[in-house]
Structures are given as C-alpha cells and as structure tokens.
C-alpha cells in the first residue's frame, strides 16, 4: 500500500502508527484498577492465565481495538467521501447511514429488546444502516450526480431523525429515554469481544471495497467529465465508496453509537500535513481517526468525568477547535 505514496507520506504513516501504539498502551492503563505501562506490557506478554493478563487481554484490549477500528472506519470513510463528493464538509453521515443506524438502535431500546439480548441494539442498528444503504445505492446505480447523492443522504437523515424524535417522544419511561440519548452520544463502555466480532468483519469488508480508490479520487479533483476522459469508471468508484462507507460506518455506529466529528475533522488534520491530494489522505486519515478515538476514550475515563462523559461528546470537543484552527489556516487555498 505504501507504493503509491511519497516519502513524506511514508514517514507520516509510520509516525502515526507509533503514536497509535502509544495511545493504545496508555489507554490500557485506565480502568477499574489503574495499571502502569509496565504492567500493561506484562499483561500482554505474560502467561495467559495470570490475573493481569486476563484484565488486559479480555477486558481492556477488546475495547481499545474496537475503538481503533471504529475510529479508522470513520476517518477513512470521511476522507473517501470528501474526495468522492469533492466537498470538504462531507462526512460519513451525509449518506444517511449514521442517522438510520441510530434509528434502529433507538427502536430496539424503545421495545425493551435489550432485556432479551445484548445483540438487540447492534443488530437493529445494522438493519437500519442496511436499509439506508440500499436506498442510496439504488440511487447511485441510476448514474445519479453527486448532488443527487448528497440530497438523498440528507433526505434519509432527516427522515431518520424525525422518526428518532417520534420514538423518543413516545418513550415508555425516563430510563429508556435516557438509554436512547446516551446511545446516540456514543460510547465504548463495557464493549466486549462480542461487539468486536460483530462489527470488525463488516468494517474490514467495507475497507476491502474501497482499496485502490485513491487514483480515481485524485482524477475527480478535475471534475466528472475530466475524470472519465482520464479512464476513471465513475459509476464503479461511486458504488465502491458508498457501499464501503455504509458497511464500515454502519457497523461502527451499530456497536458504538453515534460518534460525531471524527469523519469530518480527521481528513482536514491530515491535509494540513500531507497536502490536499485525495489519494494521500486516505491511509493517514484511517490511522489518525483511530488515534483520535482512542485519545477521546482515554479522556472519558479521566477522573473529572465521573464515568458519565460520553465518547461522542469528547470527540466533538477535541475535533471542533482543531477543525476551526485548520479551516482558518487553510482559508487562502480553499476556494
């Protein structure tokens, strides 16, 4: 994958991976029993049946890895969608998958299905994401313009949001209303290997669909006609990115809830370092997304949060100021 990248991109990718490993280790020190980095490393390398090893490998690692996958899914999809839609404001939510996945989750909570199975919320959520994906893909398959795609996504999001409001409005009791709101703010709390094995296959499948889209996205910087006359199959490019985003982001939202801002902000942070070529920001955006989410998850577990701080709130709090600074710094070139 490194082959198409310039040297500065290679360095950036290596640096980002090192940072990711670093924040991952730090994240593993947080939990019910605070551990040192040395203890974390011991838990990772020690015998499998030691107490330390069980805490690290079975409790903390799944949560950290899930967070990394979710962050990477959001970052990568954000970068790919911004390239496809040629719009720096695009984020995975614009194709309507996020809101539809949330609707699925809220419906599951409304009917109290969580009492029957811990899978109820993620499965309903995935079903919501799937429905939205099928609508958007049906539109994309008719060779629709980018504008039509965005408008379809906005329409789907609005509809899903309206239905979410309706469900909340009729929430059977305050507890379930509270569950709905908290779910929509996003969290990695108490996520286990079950959630990991539910979401990660779809996230990876989505990425596989999007492998090698960089060249087409670069050519698309010149517009659709120019890209076509440069040999880019736009219909296929659109299909791959929308289906890929829907799968990976749909799966991510299903297990972690609505986590805003990562998909929007991360590509901008990466552009600041490697320039605006759509192709060069894809891989770094995935890793930077994983870093941002892991960092945010550490912050949710800092003492001042009292264990009440939700992940989506923190990502927005980190993301928004960084976003504003970058928008200000790049205002000359972005016209």
């Amino acid at each position: 994958m490194i082959k198409g990248l310039h040297l500065t991109q290679v360095y950036l990718v290596i640096a980002l991976l090192l940072i990711l490993i670093g924040v991952g280790l730090v994240s593993a020190t947080f939990g019910q029993a605070p551990l040192s980095i040395a203890q974390v490393l011991e838990g990772l390398s020690g015998p499998e049946d030691s107490g330390l090893s069980i805490i690290i490998r079975e409790l903390r690692l799944p949560r950290i890895i899930l967070g990394m996958f979710v962050g990477a899914a959001l970052g990568f999809s954000g970068a790919a969608l911004q390239g496809l839609l040629r719009n720096p404001l695009a984020e995975p939510g614009v194709i309507g998958v996020t809101a539809s996945a949330s609707l699925g989750a809220v419906v599951a909570i409304y009917f109290g299905l969580t009492a029957f199975s811990t899978y109820a919320v993620p499965v309903f959520s995935m079903f919501g994401a799937l429905l939205a994906t099928m609508v958007v893909l049906a539109v994309a398959a008719r060779d629709a313009s980018v504008l039509t795609l965005i408008l379809t996504g906005i329409g789907l999001s609005s509809l899903a949001t309206a239905l979410i409001s309706l469900v909340m409005n009729f929430a059977p009791n305050p507890m379930s209303l509270r569950d709905m709101v908290l779910w929509m703010l996003g969290s990695l709390e108490n996520r286990t290997t079950d959630d990991l094995s539910l979401a990660v296959p779809f996230i990876i499948l989505g990425w596989l669909l999007m492998i090698g889209v960089g060249q087409g996205l670069n050519a698309l910087a010149l517009g659709e006609d120019a890209a076509t006359t440069l040999g880019v199959n736009l219909k296929r490019l659109r299909w791959r990115i929308i289906a890929g985003t829907a799968l990976s982001v749909g799966a991510a939202v299903s297990v972690c809830g609505g986590i805003g801002f990562v998909g929007l902000v991360v590509p901008h942070i990466v552009r600041f370092f490697v320039g605006s070529e759509p192709r060069h920001i894809l891989l770094p955006s995935a890793i930077a997304g994983a870093i941002l989410l892991t960092l945010a998850d550490i912050i949710t577990r800092l003492p001042f949060g009292n264990g009440q701080l939700q992940l989506g709130v923190v990502t927005a709090f980190i993301g928004a100021p960084v976003f504003l600074v970058i928008v200000y710094k790049t205002r000359e070139a972005m016209r």
Binding site: K3, G4, A219, D225, A226, G231, E277, M334
Partner: protein, 270 residues
Amino acid sequence: MSSKIETAGLALHGVGVALGGQQIIEDISFDVKPGEVVGLIGANGAGKSTAVRAALNLVKLAAGHIAVDGVDTASLNLKERAKLMSYVPQGTPVHWPLVAERLVALGRTPHLGPWDKISNAEQEIIKAAMVETDTWHLRERIATTLSGGETARLMLARTIAVGAPYMLADEPTAALDPYHRLQVMDIMRAQAKAGTGILIVLHDLSFAQNYCDKLVLLHKGKILDQGDTRQVLSDKNLMEAFQISVSRWSDGNTDYLMPSTGVTPASEAS
C-alpha cells in the same frame, strides 16, 4: 473497407444525441485528421459542447458512432479511450488545492495502474508539457491560487501530458485576455504540428479563420457547413447561424472578421 491512410483520424459518423427527450444534435458527421486543427463553431445552444462530449463517449449516442483510426470507440474500455483522446472541458474547476505539478501529473492517469508511482520517464513527459505551456515555473504553486490565464495553461499542460493522438478542447480561450488567448492558440498549433489531431470549440471567428485548418459550423444541432475556413465563414452562413453581418479586413497575411451588425431573430424566420 478503405485503407489505413483513409481511416486515420477521429471521425463522427451520423451522430445524434437526445437529452431528456429533446434532440440536441442530429446527423453530425465530420473528422479530424492527425496534425489538423478543426474548429467547431456555432451560436450558443447550437450543440457544440454536446458534439464534443459525444465524440468522447461522455453522453449516450442516440444514433451513429465514433471511430478513432477506424476503430469504433464504443468497443474500447475507458482507459483505452483515455489514451486516444484527451479533453479540456469548458472552464475546468479545480476542486482541491493541489500542487500545480501534481495536477498536471493527473494527465498520466490512463497510463498508470492503481498503485503505480510516477516514473522518471513519466516525470519527463509532465515536465515537457509544463515547459511547453509556460507553466514549469509555477510547478510548486497551489493550483487554486493561480490566475485565470495560468489555470487555463495548467489545464492545457494536464491535457498535453496525457500524450493522446487526439485532443478535444471546449472553449479553452474563454475568459482569457487577448495575449493569453493567442498563447493558448499557439500552443494548440504547436501540438498539431507535432502530429496531434485537434478539435476545438471557438467563439472568436477571427481565431477560427486564422488558427484552424478546417471548420465545422453547427446550427440548431445540425451541420450547416464544413470544410475550408473561408467557405464556412461566408456571409450567408454567418447570417444564418449567428444572425450577424461581418466586416472583413486583412493585415499582412492575416484575415480578420468582426461582427458588425446583428439582426433580430424575427427577420430570420422564413
């Protein structure tokens, strides 16, 4: 069939295009030989852009077919077509603040696999295209911060970098000042001299007369006349296609024509 020599060229055969139930162009047939600059002229809405887009297979043909050197382009895949015909769309926007040299490098896309890097040989082609369009000194600039003239030349460099035997340009001189118009036309002529067949949409009738080897005049989606520039730019044709009379004069070897009086469309009804 005819010999190789006769089939050399980009040829439209009886091409028709309908968009939204409306017939935009009908029965369009003309060809562009290697080394030739063919000007496509006509009033607004005559179907010039559609004809160019049809030649590039960017719109669905309702009738006819396109052949390049005797091969039906509908039988080729996107990459094969991309290597045969390069395109300068009208007023191409740049959607991201790309570095100028990287933008020109996009012209090599049809020649690269999804993971290929720009090789030294590719780099030489990119540099040559930028030198020829006088944009090499801008190579490290951000494309979105360049002036209109610089952007137009950069787009031309991007198109030349494709290295296709045929180039189709939709109003590449629009929005340029007189000096940069001349510069762009000179670049086009130099490309033709090197063997490229060029189809160019033009509004300036003097440019059409002085820079083109052949003209195709479109009127209401059909070809009104084509061939020698003087013959196509006759008073009668210009009156019918543009509803204008022109003044003509010569300066040395160069002929000029300038619209002098317009007539109201009503008087043209017959």
